[in-house]
């Protein structure tokens, strides 16, 4: 790529969207109000598992300000279907996964604390809330089960009739025979039991919905906190049956973070949209934080046994993994794919792994649905691989960076086909590792450790050489694996007659900075000043159908679509320019918004071309007026960002407190459009990964099924004084199969960080512990290690 242009590709352009966010002019969902709107409050189950013998809503209906109270019966009577899961998984025995009904309001049974039972709509939020308490539900309590191992054990309470033994699927991938053979040959086997703790995504803006029905046009408009408004419209229309697709408009305005949890179509927006038509008034619902803890889809929650077979020089011969995944009480929108195709396909790590065999048994419990959370399956995979690799290094007395070096896929081996169906596109893993070692001063670590020891502290160093599959995804590939949708993206570049540009993208920004990055791309390619470019997203009424934002796909897929639209603009522009310059089209060259004829001084600008396109007085005869191009891009492969993170910690054995004294991240995201935004994405990801490893945990009471961590008083969010500053650098092996050469950066930090940090802590302690490494757990481990040393 040529030198960086001002505000072009590669420049740390300050964000366009910040002006409104910093002055209070952002428009988040709860900031929007419609004339004559009513307010909704949901009646939620206080029990984890219960039969509903009856619902008496009469008292609530007659309470002050109440407009309507609806239950599952009313939805069913209107033919409103349940929520769906969009990815089919086939079990080992060839059977499709068990897909029990997921009604938007309970039908006869509730299956987790917070399950939706009824909606109360009133003139004010306070009235709706007060009346919700008056809905009298006759519950017959049933025994709950919250842990996945318990739920899959014989004799567990049966949650859905359609899923005997609470199993959703029992799935496998890889070559079992080849893996058994590798283990038979191995001179050493490292074995590890791993728990990947359950997390609540917690975007700071709680979910919300506001729906409005216009009887004149029969149009139902739903404002919702969504990462993918078109996907929401498709599901709500084709599967739930709210309205025909062209009579449903979904708008996701400024959205305050998502991290996966706003991908899904939930009960609340479904019911609110239906109710708005029912009562012929706009209906608004805003989630409270405690409700968010109860009902937003949670993340992770795996229990895994992993075994790594090695030869006597530390070469990996085979990996065997058996995972139990908790899917919660119902299947959320993409839940089935997360512990399978988004997880086990990345168990190869950055290595020549020999053979791999993985099996995943997923099941139902009386807990909130579990689905994608930042990284979605890939953090779980990296956690398994990087923990067991580190453990093996310790078992064999090989330095952790050395055992990785011996097994890295070399840079000349790409494209590299793994035993678990992925073909890695490009990478240079040793380069990132070397750079990370240099930045953390690996050589100086023994001295630093000795110095800590002299102060009675334990110092540890932990690596995570992670890999992820991003830019999801080639539609045909994911279709063959069970996805119910294609995963392409759309973009539209619309020139206005005066030469300014409006970009429409099917991606959605909820913090990632698309309004800046996408404008940079067009500014760079078409020479339009960045202030004359606007990026519009998040409205199915104005933007071409798009698949939305998750899985670090916006730039790799949406940005590629944008490049294709830009190409079309240039192609058409050349024809117009040729006419204006009285030259042959073949002789016209385009560079950064200027069309010229080789070997002459003739030139016209993009603005002149745009004007001519809309005021075609002097214009090619056979060409349509207008300069407005739409493109769709379906990726050829996933992209594979990778890199090395190193955490250095100091543990106080007296208090169990873990101090992160240094954090180095070296990531290979391919080409970078805006390094400032990329660094910010890495910071945020690492913070969430550290949160998982050190602070965050979602706890359900095993007896009652109550969520014990349902507020910020009980669920430990990382705060400023829990975290260090980060040392973030990149390497660059461009993605070979998309036009920007980009790989995606949104999830890397959350994928790498838990393994790096736990490897550092266990290095310091000399014993294995599970996440989160709370002071109590660390203190106990330090005490037992010291006791053992004293024996």
């Amino acid at each position: 790529m040529s030198e960086t242009r001002e505000n072009g590709i590669g420049a740390a352009v300050r964000r366009k969207e910040d002006n409104r966010f910093l002055t209070g002019e952002g428009r988040y969902l709860d900031d929007i109000n419609l004339h004559n709107q009513a307010y909704a409050c949901f009646v939620r189950s206080p029990h984890a598992h219960a039969r509903i013998n009856g619902i008496d809503k009469s008292e609530a209906e007659s309470a002050e300000g109440v407009i309507a109270v609806f239950t599952g019966e009313d939805l069913a009577a209107d033919g409103i279907g349940g929520l769906i899961c969009g990815w089919g998984i086939t079990s080992k025995n060839g059977e499709p996964h068990k897909a029990p009904p997921h009604p938007a309001l309970a039908q006869g049974k509730v299956r987790y604390v917070g399950d939706h039972v009824a909606i109360v709509i009133a003139e004010t939020p306070e009235q709706a809330k007060s009346a919700a308490d008056l809905v009298d539900v006759d519950y017959e309590e049933l025994p709950p089960v919250v842990n996945i191992a318990d739920a899959l054990a014989p004799g567990a309470p049966q949650i859905h009739d359609e899923a005997p033994g609470n199993e959703c699927y029992d799935w496998e991938i890889g070559d079992k025979a080849a893996t058994d053979e590798a283990f038979a040959k191995a001179s050493h086997v490292t074995r590890l039991e791993i728990v990947n703790n359950r997390l609540v995504p917690n975007p700071m803006e709680p979910r919300a919905a506001l729906a409005d029905y216009d009887p004149g046009t029969d149009m139902l408009t739903l404002y919702t906190t969504s990462q993918n408004p078109h996907v929401a419209r498709l599901i709500l229309s084709a599967f739930v049956g709210l309205a025909p697709e062209h009579k449903l408009r979904v708008i996701a305005p400024d959205v305050g973070g998502g991290f996966g949890s706003k991908i899904f179509v939930y009960a609340e927006e479904t019911v609110v949209a239906w109710a708005a038509r029912k009562i012929r008034r706009p209906v608004k619902w805003t989630c409270e934080r405690t409700e968010a803890f109860l009902c937003d889809a949670h993340g992770r929650d795996h229990v895994t046994t992993a075994e790594l077979a090695l030869d006597d020089e530390g070469h990996f011969l085979g990996l065997r993994v058996s995972t139990k995944a908790n899917l919660g009480a119902y299947l959320s929108t993409f839940s089935t794919a997360v512990p399978t195709y988004l997880y086990a396909t990345l168990l190869n790590g950055q290595y020549k792994m020999g053979a791999i065999y993985a099996e995943v048994q997923a099941g139902f419990t009386n807990t909130a649905p579990v689905d994608a959370y930042r990284g979605a399956g890939r953090p779980e995979a990296t956690y398994v691989v990087e923990r067991i690799v580190e453990r093996a290094a310790r078992d064999l007395n090989i330095p952790p960076e050395e055992i990785r070096k011996r097994n890295f896929i070399p840079p000349d081996a790409f494209p590299y086909e793994t035993p678990v169906i992925m073909t890695y596109d490009s990478g240079n893993y040793q380069l990132a590792m070397d750079k990370a070692n240099e930045l953390i001063d690996r050589a100086g670590f023994p001295a630093r450790r000795a110095e800590s020891e002299a102060r009675g502290k334990l110092r540890g160093l932990g690596y995570a050489a992670y890999i992820e599959a991003c830019g999801i995804a080639p539609s045909a590939a994911v279709g063959s694996l069970g996805a119910g949708v294609g995963l392409w993206e759309s973009a539209q570049v619309r020139f206005n007659p005066t030469g300014s540009v409006t970009i429409h993208t099917g991606s959605h920004s909820h913090g990632q900075g698309h309004e800046t990055t996408f404008a940079q791309i067009v500014s760079d390619r078409l020479g339009i000043p960045i202030e004359n470019i606007d990026v519009i997203h998040g409205d199915t009424g104005t933007v071409p159908f798009g698949m939305g934002t998750y899985g670090s796909r916006s730039l790799a897929v949406g940005g590629s679509a944008l490049m294709k639209a830009v190409d079309k603009i240039v192609e058409k522009g050349k024809k117009i320019a040729a006419h204006l310059m009285e030259a042959a089209v073949e002789d016209v060259e385009h560079n950064n918004g200027v069309f010229s004829v080789a070997g002459t001084d003739k030139q016209v600008t993009m603005a002149e071309v745009a004007f001519a396109a809309y005021v075609p007085h002097n214009y090619p005869e056979d060409l349509e007026p207008g300069l407005d191009e739409t493109a769709f891009y379906d990726p050829l492969n996933f992209t594979f960002p990778a890199g090395t993170h190193i955490a250095e910690v100091e543990v106080d054995p007296q208090t169990g407190k873990v101090d992160i004294v240094n954090w180095v991240a070296v990531d290979d995201f391919g080409n970078i459009i805006n390094p400032m935004i990329v660094e910010g994405q890495v910071h945020g990801g690492i913070a969430q990964g550290i949160g998982q490893a050190l602070l965050e945990n979602t706890v359900y009471d095993a007896e009652t099924g109550q969520l014990l961590t349902a507020s910020y008083m009980d669920y430990t969010m990382p705060r400023a004084d829990d975290l260090p500053s980060f040392n973030v650098e990149t390497t660059n092996t461009p993605c070979p199969h998309n036009p920007l050469g980009v790989k995606g950066c949104g999830e890397a930090g959350a994928i790498a960080a838990p393994a790096a940090l736990m490897n550092a802590i266990t290095d310091a302690l000399g014993v294995e512990i599970d996440m989160p490494a709370t002071p109590e757990k660390v203190w106990r481990a330090a005490q037992s290690a010291q006791a053992r040393a004293a024996e």
């Binding site: 300050r14 709680p206 305050g256 934080r289 990632q512 705060r719 400023a720 500053s725 930090g749």
Partner: protein, 155 residues
């Protein structure tokens, strides 16, 4: 219904309100100043932070009637003549925000922080901001922005 009167962003406002109205709701609903956000129900997140008589206050912890007669500043009242406050400008310059939801509260807390610690070091900034949760940025760039704003305002 009691009447409350206060000065918000330099303008006197007055309204008859339900006595249980929270200051946060008064600002968002009655005054339609939606830059002040609600991120939790336990006074833990700081998204609703505003300045009351110059001090940072979580507006969800205060009744509107308690602010009777007070001088209130919200995020909408910081810029002067279209120029962002140095703290807002520093957040933009150092990419101290992503989704922007925590940002108004974060900026208000940071202004109060610099008022009390004109020359804060990193540890002080981190400690002082622990009443404000940000899920997006990992705080790295927020800390940088606050430091830069403190330096710029001649702390």
């Amino acid at each position: 219904m009691p009447t409350v009167t206060m000065t918000v962003n330099g303008k006197q406002v007055s309204a008859d309100i339900d006595p249980r109205t929270l200051l946060a709701d008064f600002i968002r609903v009655n005054l339609d100043l939606t830059g002040t956000h609600i991120g939790c129900d336990t006074s833990q997140c700081g998204a609703c932070t505003i300045l009351v008589n110059g001090d940072a206050v979580k507006s969800c912890t205060m009744l509107a009637v308690q602010a009777d007669g007070a001088e209130v500043t919200t995020i909408e009242g910081l810029a002067e003549n279209g120029e962002m406050h140095p703290m807002q400008a520093a957040f933009k310059e150092h990419h101290g925000l992503q989704c922007g939801f925590c940002t108004p509260g974060m900026v208000m807390s940071a202004i109060d922080l610099v008022k009390r610690h004109p020359n804060p070091d990193e540890a002080t900034i981190r400690e002082e901001l622990d009443g404000n949760i940000c899920r997006c940025t990992g705080y790295h760039n927020i800390v940088k922005a606050v430091k830069a704003a403190a330096d710029a305002t001649g702390g």
